[in-house]
């Protein structure tokens, strides 16, 4: 049977999804934001390690720390979702497994982000 489809018709829809530039820029902009926020987090973890609940709750509930944490959570979850997307696309080749992994990646990032933000909001409003 002769194949009536043109070569162009056969490859349409199989190529670039045209979101590469957006991925690249989001990754870079969140990476830039993550520089001060990462340093803040590392210093915070080291300073609060072993401290009791009153000290930690007071620190995390202060407006400046809460803003920094909220910014970190937003920026880091976007950044890590994009990074894990790249890892999945590099190593998971089966179509079903890839799509499931990519969706799970999105759900994971949103879950971690919402859970962390809720905790920060609760601490800010007085525990």
């Amino acid at each position: 049977m002769a194949d009536m489809r043109t070569p162009l018709n056969k490859v349409r829809g199989l190529g670039s999804a045209r979101e590469g530039v957006d991925h690249f820029w989001r990754q870079r902009v969140t990476a830039l934001a993550n520089i001060p926020l990462t340093l803040f987090l590392a210093v915070t973890i080291a300073l609060l390690a072993g401290k009791d609940h009153a000290a930690v709750a007071a620190y995390l509930g202060s407006p400046l720390a809460a803003i920094a944490f909220a910014a970190l959570i937003l920026s880091a979850t976007i950044h890590m979702r994009l990074g894990m997307q790249t890892i999945i696309e590099d190593y998971v080749h089966g179509e079903a497994a890839k799509i499931i992994s990519l969706i799970a990646n999105t759900f994971f990032a949103i879950f971690v982000g919402l859970a962390s933000l809720l905790a920060i909001v609760k601490l800010s409003l007085g525990g």
Binding site: D3, P7, R28, A31, L32, N34, I35, T38, L39, L41, A42, V43, I45, A46, L47, L48, A49, G50, K51, D52, H53, A54, V56, A57, L60, F69, A76, T77, M80, G83, M84, I87, V112, A115, S116, L118, A119, I120, K122, L123, G127
Partner: protein, 134 residues
């Protein structure tokens, strides 16, 4: 035009095990590994924040885990992964501008990011310890 059902058996490029390990390659792998570790480490951070928001009792339990030897190692490793991934990011920012691709510069940056990340992590913990943490 050929319409073969299965693609021709083409030679594959050799994979990791065939290459002599090199510093730049190790740092590339470590950048991805620290990124993946931080991805799952975000669960620990969320857990810690939720514990702090849940009240003194539950926080004391989580704090107890963090205070064990393994807990302390995880905390140190987590901060190092954060900082090492950041140094890896610095190299990518330079490469994004089209600079820093000559071998001597690549080697120098690889060494600098290793030494820098370890040094900065140790410095942060040293300052925190003298300030009375742990």
């Amino acid at each position: 035009m050929a319409h073969s059902k299965s693609p021709a058996a083409r030679p594959l490029s050799p994979h990791l095990q065939i290459y002599q390990p090199m510093l730049t390659m190790m740092l590339s792998i470590m950048h991805r590994l620290t990124g993946a570790a931080l991805y799952f480490g975000s669960l620990l951070l969320a857990w810690w924040l939720i514990a702090a928001a849940s009240g003194p009792e539950y926080f004391a339990l989580v704090n107890g885990y963090a205070g064990t030897l393994i807990g302390k190692l995880v905390l140190f490793g987590y901060t190092w992964a954060l900082i090492h991934h950041m140094f890896g990011g610095f190299r990518h920012f330079l490469w994004d501008t089209g600079r820093g691709f000559d071998l001597s510069m690549v080697e120098l940056m690889a060494r600098a990011s290793l030494i820098g990340s370890l040094g900065l992590t140790v410095a942060i913990w040293a300052i925190a310890l003298t300030a009375g943490a742990l």
